[in-house]
């Protein structure tokens, strides 16, 4: 089970003067799902197209199922890679019915009728084989595209923003269905998305990309709880950053001190990552913070707390027990226990900004 289905080693690709991919490496085991997550223009779709063989890398090698498909002097064309792809707009052939679309990639020696029926029952579309693509709903079209890509039994299935064409409420249902279908088919999947929830939900692995680089590739839990860079921290959920200084094995900040496990030189400046659910507030006339804003979110209040330095942190509180008006003075408490994430400023410049990625 530990066979590597897809391996990219130090891939670089530029279009003219734009560097689209810079030194990206990844390895994906058979049967696993990899989510490529990042803002638009980060290179995630280019990486997908490089694996599919619609682009050739400038440098680096790509292996699919242990065979080098792109590399120095090697370029296997898309039709010989055994990499299925589902596009954002599904790209169903409009002049063919469902049946012919699904059978399109099947080799001649396969019983087409039987395989198409298998695929239709896998995606739950039995009885629709003679529909034309335009007679299908968006969700049905997507399942036909999945069936078409899975029918020839590809080594890896590539999905390009698979859910972005669907309405928000439909999306949540469909992505669960798609995950079931793909798990059932035992497919190895690389998919591209800009939606962090989708990535955390679907991926066994999540690769966060920014400006052509792979910032971090790890399990969803690790990505969320131990982001490698401030960018990953912000992109995977709400995050604030609090400046601190290392003194005697403690990080000293304006809201208190925290102990560190690692040894960091005395006097080093760091910034702590704070998720709103890990920040606790209590009304306290002598507290360091002031509530600057209160946002009602249904079951929770999200508070924005202004600190003496001018920095702000956010705190998530249950509605029932913590209803404080704006301008209340509060004390701030960090529940970071064993999960202290910090970035050393000497290595990484981080700019906590108000323009957080909202969920």
């Amino acid at each position: 089970m530990n066979n590597i289905a897809v391996r990219c080693s130090d891939i670089t690709k530029s279009f003219g003067r734009t560097l689209a991919i810079q030194g990206v490496s990844l390895a994906l085991e058979e049967g696993k799902f990899l989510a490529l997550l990042g803002p638009s223009g980060c290179g995630k779709t280019t990486l997908l197209r490089l694996i599919a063989g619609f682009e050739a890398p400038d440098r680096g090698t790509i292996e699919i199922g242990g065979r080098t498909v792109s590399g120095p002097g090697v370029f296997v064309p898309p039709e010989s890679r055994r990499a299925g792809i589902v596009f954002q707009d599904y790209a169903l052939f409009p002049h063919m019915d469902v049946n012919r679309n699904i059978a399109f990639g099947l080799p001649k020696n396969v019983d087409h009728r039987k395989r198409v029926q298998e695929m239709l029952s896998l995606v739950g579309l039995k009885g629709l084989e003679h529909r034309a693509p335009h007679e299908l709903s968006g969700g049905e079209q997507q399942r036909v595209a999945l069936a078409r890509a899975l029918a020839p039994g590809p080594t890896v299935l590539l999905l390009d923003e698979p859910f972005s064409n669907l309405d928000a409420d439909l999306r949540i249902r469909i992505r669960a269905e798609v995950k079931d279908i793909l798990t059932c088919a035992g497919a190895t999947v690389v998919f591209v998305t800009h939606d962090q929830q989708e990535a955390l939900f679907m991926g066994d692995l999540v690769g966060v990309m920014n400006a052509g680089r792979m910032e971090q590739i790890d399990t969803p839990q690790a990505i969320f709880e131990k982001p490698a860079t401030p960018f990953v921290a912000r992109f995977t959920g709400m995050a604030d950053f609090l400046a601190g200084t290392v003194q005697d094995g403690l990080v000293v900040t304006e809201v208190g001190s925290l102990s560190l496990h690692d040894s960091i030189p005395q006097g080093e400046r760091v910034s702590l990552m704070l998720r709103p659910n890990l920040v606790n507030i209590r009304p306290d006339p002598t507290g360091v913070g002031t509530i600057a804003e209160r946002i009602f979110q249904g079951s929770h209040y999200l508070y924005r707390i202004k600190l003496p330095s001018g920095a702000t942190v956010r705190s998530l509180q249950d509605c029932g027990c913590a209803d404080y008006p704006v301008n209340t003075r509060v004390s701030v408490e960090l529940n970071l226990d064993h999960n202290v994430v910090y970035f050393r400023e000497s290595r990484q410049v981080c700019e906590p900004s108000d323009g957080e990625v909202t969920i």
């Binding site: 619609f54 682009e55 792809i85 596009f87 707009d89 790209a91 890509a149 020839p152």
Partner: protein
């Protein structure tokens, strides 16, 4: 030259081709290159021929006779373009933005002359206003008028060409006016500008690109026109070239004149290209909402109606009634119809061949250009535009020379004629196929590739079936344009092979109007087909 192109092409492959794998299939590449070379052949041969004469050519070109031809051509181009603008701007405005009674009808009627070939209008004008024409004979009885003012020469040519060319300005203007954002005018009014001020300072500047593009199309049409100027005996370049060919067979001078004409046409085409981009930009920027307020004409509606009526009377009613008159006289005089039907068959046959040949060439060019963008494919596509710049008479002449000297087997055969048509009409076919190809997402082909098809297989299974409507439209357009084509048909037809176009021209030249009328009617009806289809399709789109 060829080496230079190849170098450019390889330099681009590593660069920003839309796709890194984008090596077009060799068959496609070869076919497209072959088409491009074929298109270049007539022009290259002309240049060779003319440069062979060396300094002698300069002497010939700067003779006063050549300069007189140049003067007449420029005069006609400017006059036709100016009058076409003067007709089109008011008509477009009245039919799109005022409460002119029956404005829908006027809008359609004023655009219809587009389907009448210029030599048919030439024929109509000679038959109606010429010596012993309908008007003179009508006046001869009661008033004893023996002579009308001379219609041959500038006035006749101006009238004839203007009446068929002005829709080339009218149509883009109408669509530009429809695309205007009425809110811009409302803002101008709210800022204290009156109606006229608003029109001058807000509306007119937005229409300028469309007017410029249309005016250049009219200028190009006038420059290329052979039928009307030859029938009305106004010696512009096209007719002078024909006369050279007919009488003295002075090849060097004919080639020189042709080259001057080509240079002028290319200059106009170049300007047109540049303004077209701007026109689109403007339309795209202003396609927000459309609920224009209609200007109330009040008492002005009568002069407005009279103006539209006059345009329709001259451009549509006169041709139709003159044709009807001579058709009736021809029938009663025992004109036989079977001759016309054999001409029609010839026309249809050769047009069908041209449509097929042009369509196939255009598919290769369009696919290469849309799917495998590179400097090289762009260059190939641009080369096919030479057909727009080369007047039919020039291509015909080049091929006559070339055929008589090097390709004697094809000289005076349909092969040569079809070749000429293909060079002339390739741009139309490429444009039609290109636009339908642009609507087919490249993702479809990529999906086919990922399912195990080679580029060529994906092309055959996915792309071609999907662009079939575009291919049919392009080929159909070439078919109908070929039916109307005159100068190349005149010069390159095999001896004894007469088509509708050449029979109309020959009959009019001999003054036998009755014989010209029936083929002319058939031709106009055939030419109306694509116009009708376009109108219906446009209406359906605007209904949706």
């Amino acid at each position: 030259m060829a080496i230079g192109i190849a170098k450019l092409a390889t330099a681009r492959i590593g660069g920003r081709g839309r796709a890194g794998y984008a090596r077009p299939p060799a068959a496609l590449w070869l076919a497209a290159a072959l088409v491009a070379v074929a298109v270049l052949l007539p022009l290259a041969y002309l240049v060779l021929r003319a440069s062979g004469a060396g300094t002698e050519l300069w002497g010939l070109l700067f003779r006063s006779r050549t300069l007189a031809i140049l003067g007449r051509t420029v005069l006609l181009v400017i006059a036709v373009t100016g009058i076409s603008l003067a007709i089109s701007l008011p008509v477009a405005w009245l039919t799109q933005r005022t409460d002119l009674p029956l404005r829908r009808m006027w809008s359609i009627l004023t655009a219809l002359p587009l389907v009448i070939p210029s030599y048919v209008v030439g024929f109509v004008i000679v038959a109606a206003l010429g010596p012993r024409g309908i008007l003179q004979q009508a006046l001869a009885g009661p008033f004893g008028v023996e002579r009308l003012p001379e219609i041959y020469g500038f006035p006749g040519a101006l009238l004839a060409v203007t009446l068929v060319a002005y829709p080339y300005i009218l149509l883009p203007l109408q669509s530009a006016i429809r695309g205007l954002d009425p809110r811009l005018e409302e803002v101008a009014r709210s800022l204290g500008h009156g109606r006229w001020d608003t029109f001058r300072r807000v509306v007119l500047p937005q229409l300028r690109p469309a007017m410029a593009a249309g005016a250049l199309l009219v200028a190009l049409y006038t420059l290329r026109d052979f039928g009307a100027v030859s029938l009305l005996r106004y010696e512009t370049f096209t007719w002078a070239i024909y006369l050279q060919y007919q009488t003295s067979f002075d090849r060097v001078l004919a080639a020189g004149l042709s080259l001057v004409l080509v240079v002028m046409a290319i200059a106009i085409l170049f300007l047109e290209f540049r303004t077209r981009g701007k026109a689109q930009y403007h339309r795209a920027a202003a396609s927000v909402s459309r609920s224009p307020s209609y200007v109330r004409l009040g008492g002005w509606r009568w002069p407005a109606l009279a103006f539209c009526g006059l345009v329709v009377l001259l451009a549509l009613v006169m041709p139709v009634s003159v044709l009807g008159y001579w058709l009736a006289r021809g029938f009663s005089g025992g004109e036989t119809l079977w001759l016309t039907s054999s001409y029609a068959l010839n026309s249809a046959y050769v047009s069908g061949l041209a449509a097929a040949a042009t369509g196939i060439g255009a598919i290769a060019i369009a696919i290469l250009d849309v799917r495998y963008p590179s400097l090289f494919s762009r260059l190939l596509e641009r080369i096919t535009y030479i057909g727009f710049a080369l007047p039919g008479i020039v291509i015909a002449l080049a091929l006559v020379f070339f055929g008589a000297n090097y390709a004697t087997l094809t000289y005076q055969t349909l092969v040569m004629l079809v070749f000429a048509y293909a060079v002339l009409f390739l741009p139309q076919a490429v444009a039609a196929i290109r636009s339908s190809l642009l609507q087919v997402s490249p993702r479809l082909e990529e999906a086919a590739r990922s399912l195990g098809r080679t580029p060529l297989q994906a092309l055959m299974a996915i792309t071609l079936p999907l662009v079939r409507p575009g291919i049919l439209a392009g080929a159909g357009l070439v078919f109908l344009t070929t039916m109307k084509e005159l100068p190349a048909t005149l010069l390159l037809s095999p001896i004894g092979f007469k088509t509708l176009a050449t029979s109309i021209w020959a009959a009019t030249s001999e003054g036998s109007f009755a014989r010209a009328a029936f083929p002319a009617v058939v031709l106009i009806l055939l030419s109306s087909v694509p116009m009708a289809i376009l109108t219906i399709r446009g209406k359906r789109q605007s209904d949706e």
